[in-house]
């Protein structure tokens, strides 16, 4: 029975299912299709890690969710991995460096399954 829980937030359900299949080999995976749903779930039952897509309904919805999580006392400690399209990496890096979006890692999409597992393991073991 996998111990740690991951909330995977992405609006592309095909991508979500593929990543879920990978993560489920080691962790319990829950999913949310947008930022609002993600925030609701995190507040209801905080997971051990949140993996956030940057661009969902809104251009920077992932950023907004990350900021919101870090603002809230109860969710501040939850590690976050941002997933971005390759052309957004620069923007994300800028925002992370400017300390606007505190997150543990930002990874480029698409990502090799094994690589993703390694990154997740680095963050939550």
């Amino acid at each position: 029975m996998p111990g740690k829980r991951i909330l995977l937030v992405d609006d592309d359900e095909v991508f979500v299912e593929a990543v879920r299949a990978v993560l489920e080999t080691r962790y319990a995976v829950e999913t949310a299709p947008n930022g609002t749903e993600a925030l609701r779930r995190v507040r209801e039952d905080p997971p051990d890690l949140v993996i956030l897509d940057v661009m969902m309904d809104h251009l920077s919805e992932g950023f907004d969710v990350a900021r919101e999580l870090r603002r809230d006392e109860k969710t501040r400690g939850i590690p976050i991995i941002m997933l971005t399209g390759v052309d957004q990496v620069y923007n994300v890096r800028m925002e992370v460096e400017e300390d606007w979006v505190p997150c543990e890692k930002y990874l480029e999409k698409p990502i090799a399954p094994q690589e993703l597992l390694e990154h997740v393991a680095e963050v939550i073991g």
Binding site: E17, A18, A21, N34, H58, P113
Partner: protein, 478 residues
């Protein structure tokens, strides 16, 4: 050739103002010289009416203060050439009068200050109209003649500045003639030189202005080019991103299958493959719309397709083709046509694409049981088509943006993933290429109204690709 300087007041007035200021500065030195001579003349043991020179120096100082104040008032707004020239004339008259008096007290026609008349004539010719200077020179010559005759007849006292010279002799006749000729000569020479400079000045000024205008035009053109380039680059980037996104999903899905996380032969594996195919279809739809957009934007090759288009018929055909989709969603299609709208120059396939897209959107974003009304009216030589639905609506702040490439309202994205975000951009291009307008509004009571207005007459204008940042198929990233 006479130079009408008044016509070029904007060039000469500021320059004359500066020269007058300089003239005033110079005069302080003249006044100082007179006062100094008055003080130190007796110490040198020379005869002469030294105290009188001091008085003249004081007088020069006094009127110079007056001119300094008058010019100070014009600071920043020198005014027209006429006013400034009047000011220059007043200064010149005062100076010549002061000089006449000074000459009288320093030896009359033997005065060492006689050459200063020529200097004044030269300066005057630069600042004042040459005709006026001729008059001034004549009056000055008459003044000198009067002075000479007065001194020669003994009516005026002779104030020599050399101890051995006590009266003005025969040489004075020649001095008088020489100074008069010199004054007119210097006016002629100065005029011939300065008028040439003034003409060059006008030419230079105009050339400068023309250059500045050209530079401004070039700057604007460059800005336009930069804007178009930025827009193109933005468009390419966003297109690439839109293509990359489904590609990323396809790659991840296939990698998961290939790496053995899911058995491709299992039901789950099959579902994954179907998902990948779904994303491939999405890619094809985007590529198709990108090509369509490029085609509409190019415009030129569409001209031979132009013909009379009966909008009533075109809309009725669209109703027929979309009826199954509407039925499938249990949405009622309601035509509401008044009058017959025939566009003189329409491009049927483009118009079909545009209106099909609008009606299809209305159906797609309607809830089952809803209805889509397509209203057609003739208004002031234009056909007005309104597609009204009771669907999910467009957020107020997105009403304009939904016509931009790859922009979809968040609620639309949530409602259905289907849609490239390019449809309305293409529709807008088509309508504008027909000389028309399109806009979206929120409908009272919920839903959306998209209004299209098309002129019944008028050519579909060929769209320049630069105008909207469109790219041709060859320019798309391969």
């Amino acid at each position: 050739m006479t130079l009408h300087e008044e016509r070029f007041s904007y060039i000469f007035a500021p320059e004359l103002y500066e020269r007058l200021r300089w003239f005033v500065r110079l005069r302080w030195w003249a006044a100082l010289g007179l006062v100094a001579t008055s003080l130190f003349g007796p110490a040198l043991g020379l005869p002469g009416a030294w105290p009188a020179l001091g008085v003249v120096g004081g007088f020069v100082c006094a009127y110079n203060v007056f001119f300094r104040v008058a010019l100070g008032r014009r600071e920043g707004h020198p005014g027209g050439l006429r006013g400034l020239r009047a000011c220059a004339l007043r200064q010149m008259v005062m100076d010549l009068a002061a000089l006449l008096v000074t000459v009288h007290f320093t030896g009359g026609m033997l005065s060492p200050l006689l050459p200063f008349f020529t200097i004044h004539m030269a300066l005057g010719t630069i600042m004042i109209a040459t005709r006026t200077m001729h008059v001034l020179a004549t009056v000055t010559a008459a003044g000198l003649l009067g002075e000479y005759l007065g001194e020669a007849s003994g009516w005026l006292a002779f104030h020599g500045i050399h101890p051995e010279v006590t009266e003005c002799g025969r040489a004075c006749d020649l001095h008088l003639v020489a100074i008069t000729v010199a004054m007119f000569g210097i006016i002629y020479l100065t005029d011939s030189v300065t008028s040439r400079f003034k003409r060059r000045n006008i030419e230079l000024h105009h050339a400068k202005r023309e250059l500045e205008e050209q530079a401004a035009r070039l700057r604007r053109a460059l800005e336009d080019i930069r804007r178009v380039e930025d827009r193109k680059s933005h468009y390419m980037r966003i297109s690439a991103h839109q293509l990359r996104s489904p590609l990323g999903t396809i790659r991840t899905t296939l990698r998961v299958l290939l790496d053995g996380y899911v058995d491709p032969a299992s039901d789950k594996g099959r579902k994954f493959l179907e998902g990948a195919v779904e994303r491939v279809d999405e890619l094809l739809a985007i590529v198709g719309d990108l090509l369509e957009l490029a085609k509409v934007r190019e415009g030129l090759d569409r001209a031979p397709w132009t013909r009379n288009v009966n909008l009533n018929q075109l809309l009725a055909d669209i109703f027929d083709s979309l009826e199954p989709a509407a039925e499938g969603k249990q949405v009622r299609l309601v035509p509401d046509f008044e009058g017959v709208a025939v566009l003189e120059h329409g491009i049927p396939p483009d118009l079909v694409y545009a209106f099909e897209n609008l009606v299809d959107n209305a159906i797609k974003y309607s809830e089952p049981g809803g209805e889509v009304v397509v209203e057609l009216r003739l208004v002031d030589g234009r056909a007005r088509v309104r597609v009204k639905d009771r669907g999910i609506g467009i957020p107020e702040e997105m009403l304009e943006d939904v016509f931009l490439e790859f922009v979809r309202a968040p609620n639309a994205k949530r409602f259905t993933r289907e849609g490239t975000g390019l449809g309305l951009s293409i529709v807008k291009e088509v309508i504008e290429a027909h000389g028309g307008k399109i806009w979206a509004e929120r409908r009272e009571g919920g839903g959306t109204v998209v209004t299209v207005e098309l002129p019944l007459r008028g050519d579909p204008r060929p769209r320049s690709r630069e105008g909207n940042g469109g790219v041709t198929p060859e320019e798309l990233p391969s």
